[in-house]
């Protein structure tokens, strides 16, 4: 008994065609908005593309933003595979940044290659600790993780404001910022790293964290699809009944998945703080935790898809800011609106085109669909 709409798409359409169509639709609507304010949509897209990829500087910034979205996108994906929707990436990244900053401020004089793993561990640990509370509440008390992680975002914000205003503020400072990190605790920039091997790259915030984020993609893939533990986690997420039958504890899966999720989100500070800001400031996460949700949705919760989606959002961020410089009628708010459209179409309304597309595939028969029964 299959009602209409229960049809399925072939794999490649689900993975590539549908996201591409969603993106095109989002850009079409964005084009209409740009035209409405009296600018040329084509010119705007050209400016955005050039801003994101047209120069070393553009590419550097694009990949810098991509790094944040990789961490938060992976964080959402790991929780998702255990059957949970972690909305708390923003707060976990924020608190993770606290751990990284404390490490930098106190241990920054260590040799860098000893300090780096410590900083990663500190960020991951603080992020995981922040995720552990909703995880425990879900596993033991059944409190819904969507609700509790949202609340934890506000708590993170309040906690960090308190700490920065009252505790971590640099002596003699007016603005709530920590003291600058010691030089030895800073992430090597892409310019410095490429310079070491004799390549010239212009000065951008892009830094070693990008490679760490790529490593995290590989690690998440390995963990979820090539370990017994990842298998158990995915079973718990896909079918609680099958988990109970197989002797897999859903509570343990929830807690472990959320710890890893929080740890991944907690690494945003490596890029933003050690890589670019060089001290702890208010609101350094800047919404990357929420963009991670759209990135994970669009990337189908798979590291490769997340890489593509994070790159897209990185380009949108960088291209968008270029656009607001160059077009008099396009201000920062309009750029945010365009980014919002992409999030809306690729994230929230992800299934909008699914049913019509499936109907098209059903009509013009396709050999990829081969159900083995009715």
């Amino acid at each position: 008994m299959k009602p209409r709409g229960a049809r399925e798409l072939p794999g490649w359409a689900d993975w590539a065609l549908l996201p591409a169509l969603n993106l095109v639709l989002a850009l079409l609507i964005a084009a209409a908005v740009v035209a409405l304010v009296g600018e040329s949509p084509l010119q705007a897209f050209r400016l955005m593309a050039r801003g994101a990829f047209g120069s070393q500087e553009g590419i550097g910034y694009t990949l810098f933003y991509t790094t944040d979205f990789l961490f938060t996108g992976l964080a959402v994906a790991v929780a998702f595979h255990a059957g949970h929707f972690n909305i708390g990436g923003e707060g976990q990244a924020y608190v993770g940044g606290l751990g990284i900053s404390l490490a930098a401020l106190h241990l920054g004089h260590w040799p860098f290659w000893i300090f780096l793993p410590t900083a990663i561990a500190a960020g991951a640990l603080f992020g995981a600790a922040w995720a552990a509370i909703p995880a425990w509440l879900q596993a033991r008390r059944g409190s819904h993780i969507v609700i509790t992680t949202i609340m934890m975002n506000f708590l993170a914000s309040a906690l960090m404001t308190y700490l920065l205003v009252n505790v971590l503020i640099a002596p003699g400072q007016q603005s709530p910022e920590s003291a600058p990190f010691p030089r030895g605790a800073l992430m090597p920039s892409a310019r410095a790293l490429l310079g070491d091997v004799g390549l010239h790259f212009t000065s951008t915030p892009l830094n070693l964290s990008f490679l760490i984020a790529l490593g995290a993609c590989a690690l998440v893939w390995l963990l979820l699809w090539r370990t017994k533990w990842g298998f158990a986690l995915r079973v718990a997420g896909a079918s609680p009944g099958a988990a109970a039958y197989a002797g897999i504890s859903p509570g343990a899966a929830t807690i472990w998945a959320m710890l890893i999720s929080g740890a991944l989100a907690g690494c945003v500070g490596l890029n933003e703080l050690l890589g670019s800001q060089h001290n702890l400031i208010l609101d350094f996460v800047g919404g990357a935790g929420f963009v991670g949700i759209a990135v994970a949705l669009m990337g189908r919760n798979h590291p490769l898809g997340i890489l593509a989606a994070a790159l897209l959002f990185g380009a949108l961020y960088q291209g968008g800011s270029e656009l607001s410089f160059d077009m008099p009628h396009v201000n920062r708010d309009l750029v945010v609106a365009i980014q919002g459209l992409v999030v809306l179409l690729c994230g929230a309304l992800e299934g909008l085109l699914r049913a019509p597309l499936a109907a098209l595939f059903a009509r013009f028969g396709n050999r990829d669909r081969a159900p083995a029964g009715d």
Binding site: K228, A242, Y245, G365, A370, A372
Partner: protein
Amino acid sequence: MTNPAEAPAGAPPPALELLGVDKRFGPVHANRAVSLRVAAGTVHAIIGENGAGKSTLMNIVFGYHQADDGEIRIHGRPARIRRPHDAIEAGVGMVHQHFMLVEAFTTLENIVLGAEGGLRLADGLAGARASLERLAADYGLAVPLDRPVGELPVGLQQRVEILKALHRGASLLILDEPTAMLTPGEADQLFALLRRLRDEGKTVLLVTHKLREVMAVSDRVTVMRQGAVVADLDTRSTSPAELAEKMVGRAVQLQVERTPSKPGAVLLEARSLDLRDRHGIARLRDVSFALHAGEIVGIAGVAGNGQTELLEVLAGMRRPDAGEIHLGGRDLVSCGLGPRERRALGLAHVPEDRLAAGLVGAFPAWENALLGYHHRAAYGTGPLLSPSVAIAECGRRMETFDVRPRLPRLRASAFSGGNQQKLVLAREIESSPSVLLVGQPTRGVDIGAIEAIHRRLLQLRDAGKALLLVSVELDEILGLADRILVMHDGAIVGERPGDGASEREIGFLMAGGRPGSA
């Protein structure tokens, strides 16, 4: 080879006539030029294995799918059915296998749902109440109108669905696998109701894969295989064996041959198991029995009398409130052993609901072949999981157990019910258990696969394993079990030897009758 008999002159036009209905889903030819004639005022059965195209055909008649080609005529008039609404307008009602009811709403509210008749709900409800009371009187279809549907037993919920269809003016009633959820007694009541509907002039189209139902209630039967009609027969002039052969395309043994059992040592023993659910209602009451090597013990009972809970308690998915389970010289309950530890001790489990527990539908077959055993060293060193080993092993098992299609990478939900069940059986049997718990091994499984599954279970018994078989199909218990325990209201109310047990006597115990007073 469809050749519906020509209607005699002057007779009413057939209630439903399909002419050359053809439907493809991509490469799958679901319906091949199906022609069918359902005479008005009859009970007509469509029988076929899963995947034979019956459901697709009914979905076309009810407007869920559009045929690629062909014509539908209802009461002689060509009908253009693009959505369920059109079908209802044309006088077609459908009762789905899984009911489409809002459990928190009353019967009356469910029946008017979607046809409230204007803005004021009270008027619509009053009008509906009057017409429903009339319908109930006409067809002997009494249901409590003002109780929430969720509180009604399954048999009554089905009546609500039938009443809903009649209330919408259905003259042709399609029932899809109507007895899948019913007890034998409820099924008999349903058949009586269907006969009464027929006698009052309604037409009933029964979609099923159970031979017994066809023989019990239908006037005519159409057999489908691989999307096409392969036979159209008068029920009185056919037999279950003939129908089975036409469905499967070869001769089928409905009853697998069984040699007498040679019971050995006790392998598993349950002592005084008690279980209460969250609401404090007793689900198991003082359940004790022993399972010997080389025997199949069947648990007969109407669904919901504690069989599910018994399997879960034995498998370690639930903790009993009291009692002991002895396996391999240990009490599993007091040792606090879970499903994983019990598997290690040689206790395998084929769960009752393969889609909710036995398999993860979205995962490929090879990953499902690991479920419950994924931590074993054979599947990868330490924490690592090695897909190549598991895929190769899954491929071999598919060969041994004749799972089709033989694609370890195909997701489990894409297999038919029988093949899914074989995947579960393969996993549990290949783990070489000493005790196998089996719940509803052939629910929703094709006749051809049932035969193969029954053979496997008997082979296992003959190899000296102990099997506990829970099934709501009494035929299955009678055909396989060496001893039969009857459960009623959480307690074992009787034990009979498998050979020579009478269906009537077991059925009497299942219904809560006391031994000796039958």
